[in-house]
């Protein structure tokens, strides 16, 4: 119970907790919370993973079975080939990591310029970027879609092209804001030292700023990938070709044509990457969440 003493005082006083009645209540509540939370939040995932192992008949059986009585891992393979998950997975990875690369290069250099090079009208540019946060994303879907159909000036149609996902992903004002705020906190002595050594801005960015910005770059990268993975409406509109679909859109589009256990197996497969990312990077993700959540 060493941790108890280090914690700041909260709603219930330590004295109250240490009384026998308090202790009993505490452990009861803890057990209850653990049970309910596990059931509510892991239960559906358990059902999804085991559902993919059940037979077509077993999955709609009443009452439902708690575990697959005749586990059939082959259902996962069947879902993989019937729904063409390989193709969808490659597409989604391609979109997600392309978006990540675009955001890292363009948003980082934009934030660097706004924070350290400070050009004329820099503040106005930043203001206009941040203003986009106030515009509800769904309102802009129609005009953005029209931009994709016929990009102004170059008159290219980006429909079914990965650019339709990559380029809009750069307009993440929140990323630029987070990055700029981090760059602002880098002491100027460091940059002056680099300058005296004869480093140009690009070298300064690469050799001085980026190495110390790893934590914030990590947060930005994780959310860049996760955002593409979770997006639905935009990829549904801009990548309608069956060969170009993302995992989410593809599974949804084909979900009515295959058996239920196959769909569930496919959903489980589609969920694995983000869940793995989360379990690996949960510290960064939660830190990033509290870093930016309230200062939009």
């Amino acid at each position: 119970m060493a941790t108890t003493d280090l914690r700041p005082r909260t709603l219930i006083s330590p004295a109250q907790l240490n009384r026998p009645r308090g202790r009993f209540l505490y452990w009861t509540v803890l057990a209850l919370v653990l049970a309910v939370f596990t059931l509510v939040f892991l239960g559906p995932l358990y059902w999804m993973i085991t559902g993919g192992l059940k037979t077509t008949h077993e999955i709609i059986q009443s009452p439902p079975t708690l575990y697959p009585h005749h586990p059939r891992p082959a259902e996962y393979g069947k879902a993989w080939s019937d729904l063409g998950l390989g193709r969808l997975l490659i597409n989604t990875l391609y979109y997600a990591f392309g978006a990540l690369a675009f955001q890292l290069v363009l948003d980082v250099s934009a934030a660097f310029a706004l924070s350290k090079l400070r050009p004329v009208l820099g503040k106005a540019v930043l203001g206009m970027m941040l203003a986009t946060l106030m515009i509800p994303a769904t309102v802009l879907v129609v005009p953005q879609y029209l931009t994709v159909l016929d990009v102004p000036l170059i008159h290219r149609n980006l429909l079914n092209s990965p650019w339709a996902i990559w380029l809009p992903s750069v307009t993440n004002a929140f990323n630029i804001f987070l990055l700029k705020r981090f760059f602002d906190s880098i002491p100027r002595e460091l940059l002056e030292a680099a300058e005296i050594d004869g480093a140009g801005p690009l070298r300064t960015l690469w050799a001085v700023i980026l190495p110390i910005s790893r934590p914030i770059l990590g947060v930005v990268s994780i959310f860049a990938v996760v955002n593409v993975w979770k997006d639905f409406l935009w990829p549904m509109l801009t990548e309608p070709d069956p060969g170009k679909r993302t995992l989410g859109v593809g599974i949804y589009a084909l979900s009515t044509g295959v058996t239920e256990n196959e769909v569930i197996a496919a959903l489980a497969i589609a969920s694995v990457p983000t869940v793995v990312i989360f379990l690996f990077f949960q510290r960064n993700i939660m830190a990033g969440l509290s870093a930016g959540s309230l200062k939009g």
Binding site: R7, K116, K230, I251
Partner: protein, 329 residues
């Protein structure tokens, strides 16, 4: 905003200006600086060119996919395209959408969704955060659990709930049945369809709000609790007099954020009920925009409805910005 222009592009080789001027920002040069002026000007131009070279990629993306669409949204709302020719339509689009009975239904549904989402999606995470903040064990595990659904692709969570909601063999009715409780038609009844959408949506999204509340709760000084405890305040009064006032700003910010995001709901009803639901009972404003634009090819009506939504949300955004400023420095 304390960092001065620190890293400027310094020309290499002989063009290097005399040391001592390097620390001066170009705009600060005194009028009588004489021959130094030209060097400073040249450096200033160079610095700006470099800066915009770094900015140009992001600027182009913003121009194409944010700024121009914003302007175009307004233009589209007052235009109509008929057989390939686009003309100014004045208020025609707006009159057209308000004459559509679906307009009022969509707003009613959206308001209903937002209302339910506030009761569930706003209160539940707060209560969960207060409880989690008291627990001294399994903290990491519980936090991961609550946030896990946020990381799932919405298609996975939503389709999963769709199976749970099935009135025939769905898990929810099986559980209710086993407990000898009345079962429900869930998504297939006009009465419960929207509520079902909100329950799924709360499960999917509550993790973020919960973690933000937890962070806010941890900032409450313990002495405050001790002080009211001396006054003999019980548990509920402590929550009422300390916890809620101390987190008031975070609570109201999240409330507004939630209003703004739930009023734009699309994916959940679209995937759960196909968008409209039984007798249009889950048609939301954004789904109606989607229908106008992508089912009826009526971009003018879609843009006009988008503009109405924008104005409504702008009111909430305005309040949000004001509150946010209050929390800030």
């Amino acid at each position: 905003m304390t960092t001065p222009a620190a890293s400027r592009s310094v020309p290499h080789g002989p063009a290097l200006p005399p040391a001592g001027h390097g620390t001066r920002a170009p705009g600060e040069l005194a009028p009588g600086a004489g021959r130094r002026d030209r060097g400073a000007l040249r450096r200033s131009i160079r610095r700006n060119l470099t800066a915009y070279a770094f900015l140009v990629g992001a600027l182009l993306c913003f121009a194409l996919f944010s700024w121009f669409p914003m302007v175009r949204e307004v233009i589209l709302a007052f235009q109509r395209t008929h057989r390939g020719t686009t003309t100014w339509a004045g208020w025609h689009n707006l009159r057209q959408i308000t004459a559509d009975p679906a307009f009022w239904q969509a707003w009613r549904n959206t308001a209903q969704f937002t209302g339910y989402a506030l009761v569930l999606g706003f209160a539940v995470p707060f209560v969960v955060a207060v409880v989690l903040n008291e627990l001294r064990h399994f903290q990491g595990y519980l936090r991961i659990l609550v946030y896990l659904p946020v990381m799932l692709p919405p298609v996975a969570s939503v389709l999963l709930f769709k199976y749970f909601y099935d009135p025939g063999y769905g898990l929810f009715n099986e559980i209710l049945h086993a407990l000898h409780l009345p079962t429900s038609q869930w998504l297939q009844s006009t009465h419960t369809a929207m509520l079902s959408v909100v329950i799924a949506s709360t499960w999917m999204n509550m993790g973020g709000a919960t973690l933000i509340y937890l962070a806010a709760l941890q900032g409450i000084p313990g002495e405050l609790y001790e002080a009211v405890e001396l006054d003999g305040a019980g548990l509920l009064r402590r929550v009422w007099h300390v916890t809620i006032p101390q987190t008031r700003l975070v609570l109201s910010l999240l409330l507004l954020m939630q209003i703004i995001s739930t009023m734009q709901v699309f994916t959940e009803p679209y995937l759960l009920t196909g968008g409209a639901g039984p007798q249009g009972s889950t048609t939301t404003v954004v789904y109606l925009i989607y229908q106008y634009a992508f089912n009826f090819d009526n971009y003018g009506a879609a843009a006009a409805l988008g503009l109405v939504l924008l104005i409504v949300l702008a009111v909430f955004s305005g309040i949000y910005v004001r509150l946010n400023r209050e929390t800030g420095e």
